[in-house]
């Protein structure tokens, strides 16, 4: 069974249709990249997987989105539970004004966990999972803001991992980072896919080519092409995809 199954999804902001009849499947433990020019709908699309768009007034979705076979838009779905299962990392690192330790422990505490030993274990595990442990293990009580931008982004990934999701959504996770921090994030994505299914939105074509197994190209709310990343970047089937990835438009 596919981890994520999207069928005939239309999405509207009021009268404006942002996504048009999108269908795609995502296998577990794969990295899928969404690419396309600004306004093509890729960020709207990634946010349907954790129902982040629900927070925007006058939006509506038609079609079905299933995670592990369950329609996440059906009545009775616990959105908090869904968001525990589908973690998200944003373009700019957004640590809380708390210590490094408390940032990672935050989600666990909010979910009612009180066992200090368990929380300490989980924080270490998450920081290791985000390839940050070695850099921060001696300063866990220091403010998260004392970290560099790249470290803050990995801290946000650790924070997402702490609540044990199975899917990670990343909306341009490295666009605000320097090349070395970007390389670390990309290496981390490669490691994380052993455990998680990852969906990444990126404007960086080479990043999509480097880190993803499959790539979907969006244009004006439509998914123009979805295929193995190697196919998309060597011989895409649609001229529009080729024009975009070769920089001829977009």
């Amino acid at each position: 069974m596919n981890k994520i199954e999207v069928k005939n999804v239309d999405f509207f902001y009021g009268d404006f249709q942002a996504l048009k009849n999108i269908s795609l499947d995502i296998e577990a433990n794969k990295v899928v990249a969404f690419i396309g020019p600004s306004g093509c709908g890729k960020s709207t699309f990634i946010r349907i997987f954790n129902r982040m768009n629900d927070l925007i007034p006058e939006t509506r979705l038609m079609g079905s989105v299933k995670i592990d076979g369950i329609d996440i838009y059906q009545k009775g779905i616990d959105v908090d539970e869904l968001r525990k299962n589908v973690g998200m990392v944003f373009q700019r690192p957004n640590p809380f004004p708390k210590s490094i330790f408390d940032n990672v422990a935050y989600g666990l505490r909010v979910n009612g966990l009180k066992d200090k030993y368990f929380i300490r274990e989980k924080v270490e595990e998450s920081l290791r999972g985000a390839a940050l442990w070695e850099e921060v293990k001696d300063k866990l009580k220091e403010s998260a803001f004392a970290l560099s931008g790249g470290q803050q982004q990995r801290l946000c990934i650790a924070r997402a991992l702490a609540i044990s999701p199975s899917i990670l959504l990343m909306d341009e996770p490295a666009s605000a980072l320097d090349p070395i921090s970007t390389a670390k994030i990309e290496e981390l994505i490669w490691e994380l896919k052993k455990t998680y299914t990852i969906v990444i939105v990126t404007h960086n074509m080479q990043q999509a080519a480097r880190v993803s197994d499959k790539t979907a190209y969006f244009y004006l709310g439509e998914m123009i092409e979805y295929d193995d990343t190697k196919v998309i970047f060597t011989h895409p089937k649609k001229e529009s995809t080729q024009n975009y990835i070769t920089g001829r438009f977009g």
Partner: protein
Amino acid sequence: MVKFIEIERSQIKEDVNDMFALVTKQIEQASTALLSMDKGIASQVIVFEHKVNSFELKITKEIEDYIALYNPVAIDLRFMLSMLQMTMDLERIGDYARSMARFVKETEMKELNPELVEKTQLTKMIQQVLAMLKTMQVAFTEENAELAHTIFDKDDLIDQIRTLSTDILADYMVNQTPDTTAKICLQLQDVFRKLERTGDHITNMAEEFIFYLDAKVLKHQKKG
């Protein structure tokens, strides 16, 4: 595509086109030298060989820079890969022209035996090689994959002539008296081999060019 990147891409194509013209001229001159045993023309071919090599170095550097700086993908990446391969093919063809010219320059033979030329179909083979080169250059200039496909059949005739030439030259060797005949026949056999390899390299170029245009890999496959 960003204007300055487009300009660099066009420059590479222009340079490959110029190298193509030079190599075609080298084969033409080497063939003229061979058929007329003109040591003067042969010398010119040898002198111009370094120009072919310079083109190869220049184009290879341009492609290396383009890949490193602009990270081409899809049709642009295929273009760069095919230009790199075609440049190598052209350089080898240039080498063959020089080999033929060196034979003319160094042989003791004053003229080619007209009967032998006729029997071995040497002129026909040369004409076919030149026709293939010219067709390939037109296909290249016009980005015409259909025309590039026509190259494959043309190569069959070259292979055929070369195969037959072995027996004809062997017969000639056996039936001639001067001691030098054997050596000359072996050298001539090498000329046939070079012309045949030229045909193979033009075929390779057609495959590489079709890979660029249509993303189809034709190497090591039946072309029919």
